[in-house]
């Protein structure tokens, strides 16, 4: 079987020949193109989103009626744990990273990320980490300790099965992928902006991804160390979380939430970014209050590290700590509120077009604000003491994670699908799906507030009849069918649109940002001529020169050191070479995870050798690649 078409350019000499496939499966395994990796991230996220949704559906199925025994308590514990882990680490967060991979370089006028092979490595480590976690279902049972896996529930004596090891090692490995991708994104945004693309002209999505990446590099180490400590406890008998030896299991909660609360913003800030792109485009107005939107994003990023103990109000930290963390939690509501008002002000007086992305953005505004209000409620320690570990908290974070992040990413999916595929998603089916997903969402999660206020605890496998929970749970479970039908329509219409959708053209939405200045889908080198940026909405400025007097005051300044090329007939664009080594190194880590889990020294040494050799081969093969001659008249526009 032919693997795929090879380009004429020969690979460099190396340990193994440098791959140059441009089509076929091998081209995807060896790709370093940010757009292909972005697509891989997005597709993988949707696959994990489906897994997480199936788990959610089974949870709701068990809770439909009181005193049902469809699913055993043991399996139920595995389901809600894997549902949380999947949605947070494998579906929603990578969805934001996938959009960032695809669109950050396009939006700043770069041709790729700063380290294309590292980007591929990040993806493979994430994807294989997810596969590793899911193999737990077939290898002795999935983790069953909740998504935050409190110590000492995770100790070997309390939890002798393999599930906890899968959780600890899987998240550790997945975290490596997230970390290197975040570092890569920071270097890209800081160092690879097109001439004239100053920081205060960056699209809001790029800004939010920059802040998110900083949150990742500062937050994930705390999780990594916490996971590492439990792995050491379970594998080598250390005493980090052994109370008999004097250890304080609350240390896990601190380390986990020092990571875990920034993680909430790692998920929601990219969603804010998507919304900040969709709303101005469909309101045909520049984003209202751009500088304050940027600053409030930065402020949220800072404050995200100062609120972690509001997850621990009921652990007895004392009134001083509780008051301090309640105050910081209120304060973080202020920049978030500023953002909401700026989005509304952007829509105000605009020519609002309610295309499907805008519908999702509007639903996001309402749903996220409601989730924010319940967030302020649970930030009050006495109130939190009443609803801690009840369905009220479940409803709160599903409003911000599902109704916030997921709806925003659906807006982004509909908004950018034409750019990624060259075809439009069907508008009618999109609206039908929207009117199933959003009401279905409210049907699932609105009654959960009420069930929680009545006192229904989280993570219970069933509940007694006639104590005031029957109707709420029935409504909630019925909602899953409605929302699920909507999600199935979204996926099905995406498959349909890939083959039969109307041709989108370069700029179907009258877009403002640079990605709309190239073809749909973009050529593999993104832009033939890297454009000069003079404005926050550069593509609007090109299309509507009559708006020139409305340009913001900073528009005039152009990078003084930059001399634009005079007349360009033909350009040689450097295309970085593909590589096997990111995948090989990631596979080494993947099999190394099993070696650690089963404490197999031979496999461990073998995989360490593989990783070591792959790193050296990777470093020594260099960036490689070739220069491709592009005729500006024929290729992508700028």
């Amino acid at each position: 079987m032919a693997i795929g078409r090879q380009t004429a350019a020969a690979g460099d000499a190396g340990v193994i020949t440098r791959p140059t496939w441009t089509t076929g499966w091998a081209s995807w395994l060896t790709t370093v193109d940010h757009k292909r990796l972005g697509l891989l991230y997005i597709v993988s996220s949707f696959i994990f989103l489906a897994f997480g949704s199936i788990e959610a559906f089974l949870i709701r199925l068990q809770l439909t009626r009181p005193e049902q025994q469809l699913i055993s308590p043991d399996v139920f514990n595995q389901l809600f744990t894997m549902h949380g882990v999947t949605m947070v680490f494998l579906a929603i967060m990578p969805l934001g990273i996938g959009f960032a991979n695809y669109f950050v370089p396009l939006m700043i006028g770069a041709r790729d990320l700063a380290f294309p092979r590292l980007n591929a490595f990040g993806y493979w480590v994430y994807a294989l980490g997810g596969v590793f976690l899911y193999t737990s279902f077939f290898l002795g049972g999935a983790p069953d300790v909740g998504w935050f896996a409190y110590a000492p529930l995770t100790s070997l004596s309390n939890n002798p099965g393999n599930g906890v090891d899968f959780y600890m090692i899987g998240l550790l490995v997945g975290g490596i992928g997230t970390l290197v991708t975040a570092m890569n994104l920071i270097v890209t945004v800081v160092n690879m902006r097109a001439p004239g693309m100053t920081f205060m002209r960056l699209p809001l999505f790029v800004w939010m991804m920059l802040i998110t990446s900083f949150l990742i590099i500062f937050a994930f180490p705390a999780l990594t160390i916490a996971l590492f400590q439990v792995i050491m406890d379970r594998t080598f008998g250390t005493l980090f979380y052994v109370p008999e030896a004097g250890a304080l299991p609350i240390l896990w909660q601190h380390l986990f939430w020092i990571f875990g609360h920034p993680e909430v913003y790692i998920i929601i800030l990219p969603a804010f970014g998507v919304i900040s792109e969709v709303i101005p485009t469909f309101s045909r107005k520049p984003l209202f209050g751009y500088p304050i939107m940027v600053l409030s994003g930065i402020f949220i990023g800072f404050m995200g590290f100062a609120v972690w103990s509001h997850h621990m109000f009921t652990t007895g930290l004392g009134p001083v700590a509780n008051t301090a963390f309640a105050l910081t939690s209120f304060v973080i509501g202020i920049p978030t509120g500023i953002k909401v008002f700026n989005w509304i002000a952007t829509m105000w007086g605009g020519h609002v077009r309610f295309a499907v992305p805008m519908l999702y953005a509007t639903a996001f505004l309402i749903t996220f604000t409601l989730g924010g209000i319940t967030g302020i409620m649970v930030a009050v320690p006495p109130f939190d003491a009443q609803v801690q570990d009840t369905y009220f908290v479940v409803a709160h974070f599903h409003f911000v994670m599902g109704g916030g992040a997921l709806l925003a990413f659906l807006a982004g999916f509909y908004y950018w699908f034409p750019k990624m595929s060259g075809r439009m998603m069907p508008e009618g089916l999109g609206k039908i799906a929207f009117w199933l997903i959003v009401p279905g969402f409210y049907l699932i999660f609105w009654p959960q507030h009420l069930a929680g206020l009545v006192g229904m605890p989280r993570r219970v496998q069933t509940y007694e009849a006639g104590i005031g929970l029957d109707a709420y749970n029935l409504m909630s479970s019925m909602g899953t069918y409605v929302m699920g039908a909507g999600m199935i329509i979204v996926i099905a219409s995406a498959f349909w649109a890939l083959r039969k959708g109307t041709i989108a053209g370069d700029d179907p939405w009258d877009g403002r940002t640079l990605e709309w200045a190239t073809t749909s889908p973009p050529p593999h080198y993104d832009f033939d001529v890297v454009p000069e940026i003079n404005d926050r909405d550069p593509v609007w400025l090109i299309k509507h020169p009559e708006l020139i007097e409305r340009r913001d005051p900073i528009s005039e300044s152009v990078d003084p050191d930059h001399t634009p090329p005079e007349h360009v007939e033909q350009i040689a664009i450097h295309i970085p070479g593909q590589s096997w080594y990111p995948l090989i190194a990631a596979l080494g880590i993947f099999f190394g995870s099993y070696a650690l889990l089963y404490q197999n020294l031979f496999l461990g040494l073998f995989t360490v050798a593989i990783i070591f050799l792959a790193c050296y081969a990777w470093a020594l093969e260099g960036v490689g690649g070739h220069h491709e001659n592009v005729d500006p008249a024929a290729g992508g526009r700028a």
Binding site: R111, A219, T224, I225, F236, G237, L239, E566, H567, L620
Partner: protein
């Protein structure tokens, strides 16, 4: 006038004029601060919480560790000399000083191996008490960092015999040097927190 222009290829245009790998190393080190911060934080939370001995004052040997600390700090000095030599295109001196950094780093690691085995002889193991758990994991993680640094420097040294090396490659040594100095600074913090504070 028409000509072929290599317009803003992958290598050319950089907004900050800094090499990507240098920025990358700074960002990695920022993240690494949080790694060590979490480990040092765990050590401090569990300080004086061990319920059985040996306790820190029973095993820690300040004079011995002061010597190894001094060797590690001097390796940073040699690192500066190595970078200076490479920038001045003085390849023999670059090789000499780089080898010196590797030797000093290895001496530090040798001290650590001796210290670990000595502590085990005194009854302090990973699973003996909280001091053993936090001490070995924190200093062990630091030791792994030093080992990786030695490996990176040795690799640069070996590569200089295989590929022609000149001042234009100095950025690779500089980035490795950033990492090396950082690992040194972390050791100063660890030495203070674990060793010196114990005898105040």
């Amino acid at each position: 006038m028409s000509h072929t222009v290599v317009a803003h290829t992958h290598e050319e245009h950089r907004s900050t004029k800094l090499p990507d790998i240098k920025l990358m190393m700074w960002i990695f080190l920022a993240s690494d601060c949080m790694f060590f911060g979490s480990l040092i934080g765990s050590y401090l939370v569990y300080k004086d919480k061990s319920v059985v001995g040996p306790y820190p004052t029973d095993v820690l040997d300040i004079p011995l560790t002061t010597v190894s600390t001094f060797v590690l700090l001097m390796s940073s000095f040699l690192m500066v000399l190595a970078l200076h030599s490479l920038r001045s295109n003085d390849i023999p001196k670059f090789r000499l000083w780089t080898l010196g950094v590797c030797v000093f780093g290895s001496i530090f690691l040798g001290f650590q191996v001796y210290e670990f085995s000595h502590f085990v002889d005194l009854g302090l193991t990973l699973d003996q008490n909280l001091f053993g758990t936090t001490f070995f994991v924190l200093t062990g993680t630091h030791g792994v960092h030093v080992t990786i640094g030695v490996l990176m420097l040795l690799s640069l040294l070996i590569i200089s015999y295989i590929r022609p090396t000149s001042a234009k490659d100095a950025v690779y040594l500089e980035v490795t040097g950033l990492y090396w100095h950082f690992v040194d600074i972390v050791w100063i913090v660890i030495f203070t927190v674990i060793y010196l504070v114990e005898f105040v």
